[in-house]
Symmetry: D2
Subunit: 89 residues, 4 copies
């Protein structure tokens, strides 16, 4: 997928992360660092949500409407597995 | 959906939860109670995964292969929204 | 720990869970069931937060102010382990 | 806090994140991108766990053993709030 919104958000997260590295370097207070890392994680959740939404409205529709039952199953299993993984992080 | 596996798992969770209520009643150690509640939450994640998998392989396929684009969109938006919510609990 | 607020909340969760079992029995829509289970999980997060807060302001203070360094370490390691587990559900 | 282990891990995460940006640039498969982002989130959970552990065994012990009840309460409330936030991402 190629998505300018996603790219911009990942760039922002990268900048945020570099800021956190500086905080560690400058011996900032632990709890402040944890909170910033949690903010990064929330931002990454948002990125995942955007990618999933795009995926559902393109690849998934194509596969499910297509004639290949294996491909259909594969694509739907991926959704399940990504959902499972989301629950474990 | 009607799923004996899901029903049995929910019954087990209910029993587990009653056990936790007894622990609170008997003034068990806080951390032990938290760990049991976390076990219940993991069990509920598993139930959600099972339901989602069944949903993907039935309703979602029907809607996406159907002729109604609004229904298709509705069903796919639901997947996104459930994924978003999973990230927030 | 003995906490009427926690007990009441767990009772409410138990009732909520029985409602979800009925939904499954009556073949409710998958996504509606998943949403209700997610609401139960959020309610259990709240219960865990309450128990942890009470634990921090009682047992943890006692252990950390006490004279036994092993006990102190044990109690603080428990906090870490519960935090880790929370990240994995 | 100044912790070489934490700094190294954050550097690694930053590299991982840049790899993901390249994947988006090169239009990699959505699900593969989501999985890499989930791996980053898991790595950040680990960093948070390490920071919290260090915090518990230093600042928290100092505050709880200290003579200032307000400071004690503040430090313990922070633990609760970080735990709450962890449950919401």
């Amino acid at each position: 997928m190629k998505n300018e919104n996603v790219k911009k958000r990942l760039k922002t997260v990268e900048g945020h992360l570099r800021g956190i590295e500086r905080m560690v370097e400058e011996e900032a207070y632990c709890i402040d660092i944890i909170r910033q890392i949690q903010a990064v994680q929330a931002a990454l959740n948002k990125v995942n949500a955007i990618i999933l939404e795009e995926h559902l409205s393109s690849c998934v529709i194509t596969a499910v409407r297509g004639d290949d039952p294996d491909e259909r199953e594969r694509v739907l299993n991926e959704i399940s597995s990504v959902f499972d993984a989301a629950n474990k992080i």
